[in-house]
């Protein structure tokens, strides 16, 4: 169902939600921050940090032992298709469907409501269309917002989303409003396609990212990598973690923390053996994982084209260039 309200009414709606739920919206830089009545909201910028992943899979998460749980719903407003595709196809499948289910993730997931927005001004770094996505969401959301001028079209995706709209006095959109929404979506799609339109499934790409062949290529490409792990941490599909043992006394406490496959010690075993000793091997592994292993496991690439890693990388490494060089 699609309903129409105006942007003032949306503000009121957010206020109503914030009375009972934890509500997060994009700030001026697009980072998802707690909603405040007089805070600025920027619906346009795709955030680098403060994306959807952090709410469902926090950087540090107590998975055994003491836990704090407010019992409140968390409503995240402003997620994008690149976030949701990763969440639904990668996170939900690994954490919920594959046995054993991660019960901590499950609890958190059940308490999240996802309100996505159409991307009306994609960044130069966006390339979702090259990896099977699009700059708007058509599934996986509880509610989706399409902004057209001072109006907002709200599409309901789930009962949980419907419940958030209870009592909302809205109108049905006019046909020309639906047309405008579609035309904004088309324009955005064209813009994203112009950013990058190569098919990673083509040519010898698959062979060249697996095994330790193409050493020269990977050495060259990884020259500027500082092994900071930023590309993993900001990525909506990366979920590698390390379990931190924090027990004291007789209470067992375990904290799950984000980890990065770019860190030298990531795959090291006792005695010092390390399957990916060299930087270029770890660098290659990230591509192998995303474009060979993950497609096999999840039916989507482990890259949804959000472009965050391009923006965040201090070495100015652009994943699109790395892909292109191998096609």
């Amino acid at each position: 169902m699609i309903q129409r309200i105006n942007t003032d009414r949306l503000k009121q709606l957010l206020k109503d939600w914030a009375e009972v739920h934890d509500v997060f919206v994009p700030d001026e830089q697009g980072r998802l921050v707690r909603f405040e009545e007089d805070g600025e909201i920027n619906w346009n910028i795709v955030p680098v940090w403060g994306g959807l992943k952090e709410f469902i899979y926090p950087p540090r998460n107590t998975v055994a032992g003491s836990k704090e749980d407010s019992g409140k719903l968390t409503v995240v407003v402003g997620a994008r298709d690149c976030d949701v595709r990763a969440l639904v196809n990668v996170f939900d499948r690994i954490m919920l469907e594959k046995d054993p289910a991660d019960t901590v993730y499950k609890n958190r997931r059940e308490k999240i409501r996802i309100v996505t927005v159409d991307c009306s001004s994609p960044a130069d770094t966006c390339f979702c269309t090259a990896v099977g996505g699009k700059p708007y969401c058509d599934k996986g959301f509880d509610l989706n917002l399409s902004f057209i001028g001072d109006k907002v079209l709200i599409e309901t995706g789930t009962d949980g989303g419907q419940a958030l709209l209870k009592g909302l006095n809205s109108k049905e959109p006019e046909n020309d409003e639906i047309d405008r929404k579609d035309s904004i979506r088309d324009t955005s799609t064209r813009k994203v396609k112009a950013n990058f339109d190569s098919d990673y499934k083509s040519g010898r790409f698959g062979d060249r990212i697996s095994g330790n062949s193409e050493e020269k290529y990977w050495e060259k490409k990884s020259e500027d990598c500082m092994q900071c792990g930023g590309c993993n941490f900001c990525c909506p599909t990366c979920y590698c973690n390390v379990l931190n043992e924090q027990s004291s006394g007789r209470e067992i406490v375990k904290v799950l923390q984000w980890d990065s496959c770019q860190f030298p010690g990531y795959a090291r075993v006792a005695g010092g053996a390390n399957p990916r000793k060299e930087l270029w091997m770890r660098f290659r592994h990230r591509y192998y994982c995303k474009f060979s292993l993950m497609p096999g496991e999840f039916d989507i690439a482990g890259c949804t084209g959000c472009g965050r890693c391009i923006q965040v990388c201090p070495g100015k490494i652009d994943i699109r260039d790395t892909i292109k060089g191998l096609l």
């Binding site: 055994a64 991660d102 095994g211 590698c240 043992e245 924090q246 053996a273």
Partner: protein, 271 residues
Amino acid sequence: MSRVNPYEPIKAVIREVIEETPTIKTFRLELDEPMEFATGQFIQLTVPGVGECPFTPSSKPGKSRNMDVTVMKVGTATEVLHRKTSGDMLAVRGPYGNGFPLDFLKNKELLIVGGGCGMAPLRSLLYEIIENKQDYPSVSFLYGCRTPEDILYKGSFPEWKKEIDFERTVDKASEEWKESEGVVTKLFENVKVNLKKCVAVIVGPPVMMKFATMELEKKGVSDDRIIVSLEKNMTCGFGKCRHCLCGPYYVCKDGPVFFYKDVKDLPDVWD
């Protein structure tokens, strides 16, 4: 998986510590709740406040509150573990992984090759074999260590020797050592099982497995009759952290026990 939260371990108390070698101890644990494991599966052992490490129980497989883990002192967590004594608390979660393919091993001639601390998982396999002797009519066991001092389960050897063909060798013999000297692959020369037919199970340090598999292939043991247990970095143990990936495999779920044919061409199999 009996527990709801897979990260929540079962508490365990150390009941006895057995000093096997200068660097290896066996910890006899009593768990708060019974755990059922198959031989070759592994557990994650919590050393409270320090870390968690994967170990393969060395005790008799099955369901029990008692479990032995045999641990070599190699780094941070194992160092602290080696200072623990009877009565100290640890915690265990698991079991994880596939374990040895017993249905495949039954009624075959078996050549079991152990190196150093690789004897730990093989002890639980030995218990399995000796208890179900009718299923394992012909078994040769070869065990290699650096020096006589490094040999595990010294006291059990005479007993095992009565049950199956069991040869030991050390890289560097001492005055008193009466058995073989040299690397374990040397014992392949005179094994009693038929190398053209037998199934080989190899567990040990990576270098040892690398050379043993190469040598056995040369001697006519085909790669679909060689079974190895891989050691990779593991955090979760149940397919949720990606640390253990080796080629397309999750070593924690698809392994740690593999047919050699499935892993031999992976670039990082022994690293």
